[in-house]
Each structure stands twice: as C-alpha cells, then as structure tokens.
C-alpha cells in the first residue's frame, strides 16, 4: 500500500514551478464560459416558488392562474413530479449520506423551501407567475435549535432516520480509559463552545441548464464540484440509465464544498425541460444562494480535558451537536469527520467523543471547506491556550509538547506518515521570534491608547481524501498524440483552484514533455473517466497520482516506440523535455513528435493509458500566527498580520497553493469575526440573505499575509509526496484569532463570530 513506497527524488523540471494557468487566460479575457453564460435556441427560464413558512403541510396548491399566464410553459408541483426518496449529498451508498429528500414534497421543512416550479419564456414572466400560484398550508410547530429539536415530544421533521430528529445515530469514539485519564490529571478544564452559520458565498450563484434530445437523453450543464454524482443521482431519480444523462461543467465560479449536493432546482430544471421539450435555464438569485444553498453546520460543543502539571494531556471528553438544518445533506459526513478529528491534533491516549447531528426547520447545512473540523478544532485549540495560561506556560510551548507526531494514530485509524505540525510550529516560532514577541512591552501606544494588540497561534491538521468514510477512486486517461502532444482526460472539476494545471504539470513531469504540450479535457461525463468529485482537498493527491500512473505507462510505450525507430533497446534511451535520446550518446535523439509520427513502414499512432488510484489518506498540517488590533472603544477587531506556516508535502504549483491558503484565511477571518447567516429563532426566516447584510472581509479588511509553505513531510501516497491544501487554512485561522483576542484584552471567547458587541460587553464586564 502507499505507506511503504519510498518517495522518488528527482530534479524537477515542471513540478514546483508556478507555470501559467491556461484557465486563467480565458478568465482574464472574459472568454471563459460559465454555466450562466449558456444560451440555447428556444431556451426557457425556470423559477421556484418558495414557502414563506418554516414547517407546514401543503393542504392544496392551485397553479391554474399561473399556467394560464401568457408566456408560461409549464408548472410543476409535488403532485406532478416523480416521488422518489433520494440522497441530497453526492456519495450515494456511502456512510456519509442520508436519503431524506423528495424533489417536491407535500410538506415544507424550512422557510424558503421550493414548493413549485415554473418555466416561462423570460425570467420576468416566470417570476410574475410565481405570485399566481396559490398554496394553502396547514402550519406545523417548528423547531429552530438542536436543543429544542431533541426534546421529547418535539415536532418531528422527518419520517425517515433514527427518529427524535436525529440525522444519524450518535457517532461515538472511545480510545483508552477516560476515567483513568481524569484520575491521573492534576487539573481539569471544562467549557462549552459554539459556532455560527457561515455561508460559503461563492461569487457564482447556482445555475443549471437542461436540454433533452429526441432519444430521451438529458444534457445537463450545472455549476457543480461533483458532475458524476449529479449524473448518478439524476439518473437514479429520473429512472434513466447513465448513458442517457450527460453532465457538463466547464468553468465554475467557486464552490468551497457547498456545490457538492444535488440541489432541488437541478431536478426541477431537468423536469421542466422534459415537460416543455425545450431547454430550460435555472439561475439562483443571490438571495436564493443563501436560502436554498448550503452553509456550515452551526455547532455546540462541550469539552472537558485533563492535564498533568507538566502539560501532558491525559483525558479528553467531548460532545458535539451539529445543526443539519431541514435535510441531512452532508450532516452524517460532517459529524463523523468533525467528531473523529478530535481524536487527534493534540495527542491524548484517553478519549471519549460523541457527535450528534440534528434536524431543525432551518435552511440546509452542507459541505463547506473544513468539513466539521473547523468547529471541533476551534474548541480544542482554544482550550489548549487556556491550559497554557493555567500552567503559566507559553501556548507555543504547550502546543509543541502535545502536537501529534509521526506514527500516532490519525482520525482515519491508521498511523500518520508525513507529520509536519511540529516543524510548522517551530518554524513560525523562529521566524517571528515568538518568545520576544510574547514578552514585549504591553503598554498601549500613547498615540492610540484605545488600541490593544495581541498575538495568537492556531493549529490544525486535515486529511486529503475522505477515507475511511469513503473509499475513493481517482482516474486519469493520458493520450500521446501523433504529433507528440499529450491530452489528459480527467473528471476532476475546475473550481478555480488550478487543479487542472497541477495535473498537467504532473503528467508533463512524469512523461518528460514540455508543460505547454499537455492539454486537459475535463467536464464532460460522456468523455472523461469517472471521478468522485472535487472535495476533501484531494484532487492533487488522488487524481494527481492517477495521472502520474497513466503518464508512467505512456512513457514506457513512447520509449518502446522510439527504441524501435532508433533501432536500440528501450533500456538504452531516456526521455526528457520532449526528446528521446541515447543515454550513452545524448546527441543521437529524436523528438516525441518524431517518435509518434509516421516514418517509413510505421504509420503515425496514438498511445493511450489509464491510471486508477485508490488511496487511503494523507494529512496536511498548519500553524497560523496572527496579530490583531482591538479598538476598545468600538469593539472592532482588526486582523493586522497573519503568518500561516503550512506543510503540504510536495508543492506542485506554489502560487496556486499560496492562493488557496490566502483565500482560506479570508473566509476564516470572516467566520471568526463578522460572518453569520442568521435565522430567526421564532419563525425560521432568513434575516441577512444578501451580500451587504452578510458581512465578508473585503479588500479593506485583509491583513498582510506572509505565507510560508514547507515541504516538511511529504506523503508517499501523493505524487512525489504532494498532499492537500484547500481546506487547511480555514481551520487554523479561527482559533489563532480567538487566542490573539485573549492575548490582547484578556478575555476568552468560546464562540464565533466574535462581534464588536461581544468585545464591548466583555470589556464592560471585565471593567466592572
């Protein structure tokens, strides 16, 4: 298996260089085609009628006026669409999903849920027709907080599942002997923590276009991270073989995890197109991306840990409750990953964890960068800081003492191979001269006496791949064309991370051709090899290895063909930078183009090979060092400087990797200080579903970020030791800010977002 294979060392020609991204060329010229840019002849526009009630039974629904409205071509309700119970999340039949959705149901489970859909000749007409649909509801009592939802006698939101509004049976992890651990402890810390409901707010609202042909085949363009899962679930629910569903996605305007579900509007778009026999486009408004999109699971955590006076952690007892919203979506996966993650980060032999996931009558929470771990590591890392305070120790020292190390059992259950957290921490401590920084004079600047400065550290680790929850498979096809150029076919989605460029770099490096000679074909389920989807920070690790395997095979075949032409044996020749040459006599050579092209008696040919990879998992690590300024008059926390130190194994494209880290920090600053999608606790109504009221950090709010990437601990499971990077930054930044706030004003916050009101209130209480 991948843990025993040594990592091949070589002089890299392409890997590790920030080559130009082809997809970015299209983006800066405006040529890149996103799903919303598609316009087909005769195309109709679809819109969804959304419930203005959070929990209700539909008594009747009258669409006659809407149907009669000029320009309206079709209206669908729960009475006219197939009733098939289906998965919302993309991993059918794996542990991380739950079957609890219908395309349209006779019940409403959250404010804003779709109850009918219209197709019309224009968006305006479709919109106007929505108002003509008359729905009569029988209101049901709603539950908006997990605490209320699990009370005996609480209204039940679903008929399926384990009951009691649980999405899945509680996730329990026991290691060692928790009672023995606490008995050995010199002191115990106990606290409750709470995370809000941050929303991914990708810039491209969800959008899809459906078109059926005369053979009853559906062509479906959609902004998704998981096109093959969309194909699978659509086919299953619509009763079609996979050959009759083709899913296409070229460029997409971000996803951050949340574009992994199969959304209600996607089914409805396909059905409206079928009903009208015309192409239909359905595009979310920004309001709908909040209401009908997916956010991070709000979470309540109780954490109790026992420590020895020398700082050793001896017991960890933790209970987590994730709020799933009205449907399961990624609730099971998030609960399993977020809960089991707490076995690790800081080593502890005696661990007892319990994670629950609860339905509420609120908008659906789903996958989002940092998948359940943002919540659990926020608590772990802050309590570590508290323990350091109690011990009178530098938190950096205590964290260093306790961080996981090589050989420790990872959350996935196997020993960690590439372990880089210790190195990241040490590196940050050195470059910042942390000890001096902590011991600095704390007298406020007389010119700005109301400003308090603080520094904090946050640590994290995160897996590349969703193993063991999902046994993943990565695929790639590599073709060497008759002119020596190379085509890589991949199912990996192009979220904007630069994944396709990294894959092309890997192929070029392994095969021995120029980067410019590799073209990438993606985004068409009828053409490219099957892909599990772009999530779990795994594309470079998983698909990258598959691409490398395929490239290795075609390389051998190219060498064999060239050997024949050069009339030597394949062992005598090598291939580099598009040239095949005799090892002993490098001047005797031919280009790959000559090797592939025609010569006397040998016609031109293609060489094709596939790579399939089924890995376990690697872990990436990060320590973030963060400086904040707190205005004690306004309560505003300004993040001034972040030094993120990451171990991502082998770096394939440095600028793309840095970009992931900086973007993750931006989102994490938002989560920690300003972002919270607020649902009214009495009605379930959204209170800030828009980009002004939902406040994200923008250009004026960004700190100086000095990204440091260490290739500290390559993992043999990834190409030349490469690991994931997409999710890590968003996990570490949160606790680093909370810890810096404590350093600045001496107040501990256990929740996010930490608002100016919270700061002012805490300062008042502290002063009193």
């Amino acid at each position: 298996m991948n843990m025993t294979t040594p990592i091949e060392q070589r002089e890299f020609k392409i890997v590790g260089k920030s080559v130009k991204r082809d997809d970015v060329l299209e983006k800066v010229t405006g040529e890149a085609q996103y799903t919303g840019d598609i316009k087909l002849p005769g195309m109709l526009h679809g819109k969804i009628k959304r419930a203005a009630i959070a929990h209700a039974r539909i008594k009747s629904i009258d669409v006659s006026k809407a149907l009669a409205y000029p320009g309206v071509k079709a209206v669908l309700t729960h009475e006219t669409v197939p009733r098939v119970l289906h998965y919302g999340s993309p991993h059918p039949r794996s542990a991380s999903c739950t079957k609890d959705q219908y395309i349209l149901d006779h019940k409403v489970r959250f404010w804003g849920e779709g109850v009918a859909a219209v197709a019309a000749i224009s968006e305006e007409i479709a919109d106007e027709a929505l108002d003509l649909i008359e729905v009569e509801y029988e209101a049901l009592p709603g539950v908006f907080e997990p605490e209320d939802a699990v009370q005996l006698g609480a209204p039940l939101i679903h008929e399926v599942g384990p009951g009691g509004n649980l999405v899945l049976d509680p996730v329990r992890v026991n290691r060692g002997d928790i009672d023995k651990g606490f008995a050995e402890a010199d002191f115990v810390l106990e606290g409750t923590f709470a995370g809000g409901r941050p929303h991914p707010a990708y810039m491209e609202p969800n959008v899809c276009v459906a078109d059926w042909d005369g053979s009853n085949k559906l062509t479906f363009w959609t902004s998704t991270q998981t096109s093959f899962m969309v194909r699978g679930i659509l086919a299953e629910v619509l009763g079609l073989p996979l050959t009759k569903v083709r899913v296409l996605v070229d460029h997409m305007g971000g996803g951050f995890g949340a574009k992994q579900d199969l959304f209600q509007h996607e089914f409805l778009c396909a059905l409206l197109a079928k009903e009208t026999r015309r192409p239909v486009k359905m595009e979310f408004t920004r309001h709908e991306t909040f209401v009908a999109g997916r956010s991070r699971h709000p979470c309540k955590i109780w954490l109790k840990q026992g420590f020895k006076n020398d700082g050793t952690l001896v017991a960890r007892d933790m209970k987590l409750v994730y709020d799933s919203g009205a449907y399961g979506s990624h609730g099971p996966g998030v609960t399993i990953v977020g809960t089991t993650a707490a076995t690790s980060l800081y080593r502890c032999e005696n661990v007892r964890l319990e994670g629950r996931c609860v339905y509420t009558n609120t908008p659906i929470n789903g996958a989002f960068r940092g998948y359940g771990v943002v919540q659990s590591y926020y608590a772990l890392d802050i309590q570590m800081d508290e323990a350091a305070e109690r011990l009178g120790m530098d938190p950096a020292e205590l964290k260093l003492k306790n961080v996981v190390r090589a050989g420790d059992i990872a959350p996935s259950g196997h020993p960690i191979i590439g372990h880089g957290l210790e190195i990241c921490l040490k590196h940050g401590i050195d470059v910042l001269d942390w000890t001096t920084l902590r011991g600095r004079d704390r007298t406020p600047d007389p010119k700005r006496p109301h400003i308090r400065k603080g520094w904090g550290i946050g640590c994290e680790m995160h897996g590349s791949s969703a193993y063991p929850g999902i046994k993943e498979q990565g695929n790639a096809t590599v073709k060497v064309n008759e002119d020596g150029t190379v085509t890589l076919l991949t199912g990996a989605a192009g979220l904007g991370t630069g994944a396709h460029t990294a894959l092309a770099q890997i192929v070029a490096e392994e095969l021995g051709v120029r980067f410019e000679d590799v073209g990438v074909i993606h985004g068409d389920t009828d053409v490219v090899p099957w892909d599990i989807g772009a999530f779990a920070s795994h594309t470079t690790y998983l698909v990258g290895t598959a691409a490398k395997m395929a490239a290795e095979k075609v390389r051998a075949a190219v060498l064999a063909r060239a050997a024949m032409k050069l009339q030597v044996s394949a062992e005598e020749i090598d291939l580099s930078e598009g040239k095949v040459f005799l090892i002993a006599e490098p001047d005797r050579s031919m280009t790959v183009s000559e090797a592939m092209g025609p010569s006397r008696g040998i016609p031109a040919a293609n060489i094709v090979a596939n790579g399939t990879y089924e890995p376990t998992k690697s872990y990436s690590f990060a320590a973030h060092f963060t400086e904040v300024d707190i205005d004690t008059e306004t309560g505003i926390v300004e993040v001034k400087r972040v030094v993120p130190v990451h171990d991502v194994g082998r770096v394939i494209h440095p600028i793309a990797a840095q970009g992931q880290i900086e973007g993750g920090i931006q989102q994490g600053i938002g989560h920690t200080l300003t972002e919270d999608y607020v649902i009214d606790k009495k009605t379930g109504r959204s209170l800030n579903a828009g980009l002004v009221d939902y406040k994200m950090p923008l250009s004026m709010d960004m700190p100086d970020i000095e990204t440091i990437i260490l290739e500290a601990a390559p993992d043999p499971g990834g190409p030349w030791g490469a690991k994931g990077v997409g999710e890590d930054p968003i996990i570490a930044i949160g606790p680093s800010i909370a810890n810096a706030i404590h350093d600045a004003i001496g107040v501990r916050f256990h929740h996010y977002p930490i608002t100016p009101e919270d700061i002012l209130k805490a300062l008042r209480e502290k002063g009193a």
Binding site: V28, G36, Y202, L495, T497, G498, L691, M700
Partner: protein, 160 residues
C-alpha cells in the same frame, strides 16, 4: 414595450431593442452577447458586473440599458490591445495568480484599469480602497494587490 437604444461597446456601435426595465448588464450579456461581464448579485452588492461607461466604473446591474444611450461602454472583452496581446493587467493577473475561479475577475480588471488610468502610482491603500466595492471570495485579495502593483510598474516602464 421595447425601446431602441444605441451605444458603443468597446468602440463598436450597437443598436438593440430592450425593455425599459432591462439592465445594462442583461443587455450586454443577452443582447450584445458579451458574457464576460458577470452577474454575482444583480442588486449592486458585489461588483462582478463592473464596466466602464464614458470611462467611469458602474455596476452594470444597476444601470438601465436605456440610460446608456449614446454613451461608450467598455467591458473586459475590450481590454486586450490586440488579438494576441494582453493588457498589462491581464498579464499580471495571470502571472500572480490573481484569478482563481475568475468570476470576480472581469469586474476587478475593469475597476483596476480605471484605478491605474487615474492614478498610475497607486499606494497599497489606494488599491485597497479602489477595490472596496468588488467582492472576491477566492483569493484573499493578496495576489490581486500584487498583480495591480506589478501592472502599474509594467505600464510605467512602457509609457512613451
């Protein structure tokens, strides 16, 4: 009721029939067929639809197409000085990794062009302030700032 409206887009005269309520953004995307300009919110909150009208940046989603009558509209599609040449900003965005998903990019490029046209030597604060109406959710802006500074230097060096 549709109305005829005429304006130039990237120097070319365009004439079209639009509804009175049609935004400049929808007119550009649906009538002119230039989809480079993006719709991130349609209510003036995100800056993805930023274009220049008579040289001034506007949110095209907030301007009616009929208000553009007789005016000169510039979009991302008009940035390239020649078929095979990129504007220094486009080139710098590529080199510095200033575009990830790219959905904010056309709007940010137009805003940055305006910024550099007015102020060839912007300070860091000028750049931050200049982009304060453009949301980018992918990059953390760091690389966008780098790219704009680099393009400013490049334009300075090649200025006659």
């Amino acid at each position: 009721m549709k109305r005829m409206v005429e304006f130039t887009v990237n120097g070319e005269a365009r004439e079209m029939a639009v509804n009175g309520c049609c935004s400049l953004l929808d007119a550009l995307r649906d009538e002119v067929g230039l989809t480079g300009t993006k719709k991130g919110c349609d209510v003036g909150d995100c800056g993805a639809c930023t274009v220049l009208v008579d040289g001034e940046p506007v949110n095209a989603c907030l301007m009616l197409a009929v208000e553009a009558e007789g005016r000169a509209v510039e979009t991302v599609e008009g940035l390239q000085p020649g078929v095979d040449r990129l504007h220094p900003l486009q080139d710098a965005f590529m080199r510095h990794g200033a575009s990830q998903c790219g959905f904010c990019t056309p709007g940010i490029l137009m805003m940055a062009k305006k910024l550099l046209d007015d102020n060839p030597h912007p300070s860091d604060e000028d750049i931050r302030f200049g982009l304060s109406g453009n949301i980018c959710r992918c990059t953390g802006y760091t690389k966008i700032f780098d790219a704009i500074k680099s393009a400013a230097r490049e334009m300075e060096a090649t200025r006659p």
